[in-house]
């Protein structure tokens, strides 16, 4: 049965949209939630639900993928806010590779992705958002500036400082892992 509240004409577009972008949306949400990514599939569906109910925004000029990722970002934020100490949650860290629901991306790639996710979570909202806008949504500096109502120079500056913060955090994680690795060797 098709959903009654979705018009046929737009549904065709959304089915195409789903086929083209579901994987990207799901991957983005899993990346943002990892290692506790058990809600990724539900949230990915929610993204398309929200998109279907606000199709007017599709005409704003942004690419469909960027638009969906932006909705996904809001869904993730809402989800993280609501995830206030549940009784049980599945730690999917060990589970991401090889578990039904996620294709196996390879251990190194998983490790890197988890590490990047950790850094993004630890960055300030401003830095995390500008990095995502630039690299995941694929927006230009001018587009980011226009969305934020800022000057391109301010965005460039934020981007530069966000990259510095990213580098510092990355080095910190590497140093910790090297420490852990040498300790393993000693054992």
């Amino acid at each position: 049965m098709r959903e009654a509240n979705v018009a046929d004409a737009s549904q065709i577009d959304f089915e195409r949209l789903f086929d083209e972008h579901f994987d990207d949306v799901y991957a983005y949400i899993t990346f943002r939630l990892a290692p506790q990514a058990d809600a990724a599939a539900d949230l990915a569906q929610d993204v398309f639900h929200r998109a279907m109910r606000s199709d007017a925004r599709l005409r704003t000029g942004a690419s469909a993928r960027a638009w969906l990722i932006e909705i996904a970002r809001n869904c993730v934020t809402d989800h993280l806010r609501s995830r206030v100490r549940r009784n049980h949650h599945v730690d999917r860290f060990s589970d991401l590779a090889g578990h039904e629901g996620v294709e196996e991306p390879g251990e190194e790639r998983v490790d890197r992705a988890l590490r990047v996710g950790q850094i993004i979570r630890e960055l300030s909202d401003r830095f995390a958002t500008v990095l995502e806008d630039k690299y995941i949504l694929g927006l230009t500096v001018e587009q980011i500036a226009q969305r934020r109502g800022e000057t391109a120079k301010a965005v460039e500056s934020a981007l530069s400082r966000a990259r510095d913060a990213f580098r510092t955090a990355w080095r910190g994680i590497e140093a910790r892992e090297e420490g852990a690795s040498s300790c393993e060797t000693l054992r």
Partner: protein, 565 residues
Amino acid sequence: MTDDRIESLVREAATAFRPDVATRDVARARLFGDDEAEVLEKRERHRRRIPTIWRLASAASFILLLGAIGAYVFWPSQLTLADVQAALEDVEWVHIKYDHGDEWWWNVPRQLSARKSPDGYHVFIDYVAGKRWGYHAGASEQRWIHQDTVQSYDIGTTAWDRIVGHVEDRANLPPERGVWVEASPVVLEGRPTIRFDTYRTDPLDKVFLFEQLWADPAARLPIKIRQKLDAAWRRHLDLNMEFVTGYYDFPDSGPESIYDLGVDPSTPITEAAEGPAPENVLAILEQVERSALSFPSRYRHVTWNTEAVFILHWDGVVTKQSNPYWLDIEGVNYRWQHYFNLNGLDEESKPYHLPLPAAAGDVLAWASNQVPISVTLQTDDRTFQQSGPLPDHFVDADEVDVLIRHGARSSPMLSNYQWPVQLLWPTTCGENPARITVLQEVEGVPDGQIVLRSGAGGWRSDYYIDPTRDFICVRETSWRRDHDGEWVRSRERWLEDFAQLPTGHWYPTQRREWMRASSERGKDRAWITHISIKLLDESDLPDELFDIDVLVEKARELGATIETF
């Protein structure tokens, strides 16, 4: 790291976790009402919520999966665990080999079991005969196959009981046990299978995937198992893997003796003494055990020497229950802390140095300003073990590892006689009375002392019991057989300078030890450890002392790596 590298990392991370076909189909069904996928969605929804779906894999689910993965010529219309059980009825030998090297064989109809462990241990058990043969390839002493009797153990009556029955047992547990099983059709290496996932709840109330078992709906036999590796075992084997995976096969034949596991046929077998212990031994052990069980149940035990300080707080009654060789500590709370006493001359060691001689009060005052390098806390339902942080100048000094596990232990996880009961009455901790004899006319033994000898294979121990002091073992000598078959003294320990607790119980204030060098070029070691025992009241034990959650919180503040299985 260049800007391009950051871009590439972020882009890669955001696309690393692709959904599988089933996840995408379920989402599509929910959004657009695809009829076939609706069924898949229903399956997915129930897979998550219903704890036991043993009779699943209906034709519809399989047909859907078939559509998703491509064409298969044959697909059975139904598979239930009962089918698997029936298929296993006729199986005689089961063999499984894990990717970390562990290998097992079972012949359940004939009640045989064999194992080659990755740490070098080989064992062959004949449950009908009640015999076990063990061999350790890594043992330093002369190679022996140790034969003893095996206690009855239910390995079931068919291969089903042995390799799948436990999954069914878990599936039938009530929800409050925190264990459940979910079943789902999945493709494994290109072939359709049913996978049974067991989830458990860890001691911090988090759900984790514990085990996955794949069964072949065509052959109706188990194919593969993936199990979370216990952290203690992982550390023991120094394995950097969280899960181990094993593949089943069902050979026509299997090992008929320990020699078939690859043990050199010339390896001699030593047979442990069997049957009831001699009456004179039992009479002494009864006295020993009575003394151990009457020891006070609430105390602080402090030991210190030139290298370390150990502080144990104990609260609970030791009992004798089902295990014939061990005392039971169920319901006991204890907390044990280990501190480095660094006696190096360098400046960095000074803050961690306890000058000796010292009285117990000095030691406690010193320890109050130190951070223990390890903490073990056991309560009636959980065990907490923390290692680290180390003193500042150690490599990886700030690294902290924590392991939290469910359940009480049958005996304390304390080493080197850190538990007074084990220190004073070692025969109550794992000794089989059947292999103990009373030695007569031992040279140099003070009048009245009794010497018990226990041993098998390449080792033996002599216990010198003092009936005038609560049947305490005041001296223990350990022997091992060298490569020429000669017995050599390997370790010795004396308890000295006895004092009495207010209850009248005796305890030593000093433990003197000697240990033979492990190689000819090495040096023998001798050292003295001081002992203090103080009886405590309930008010001396604040609640926080035995609160695992408090320790977990502190460990988190230290950035600890926390494992829960």
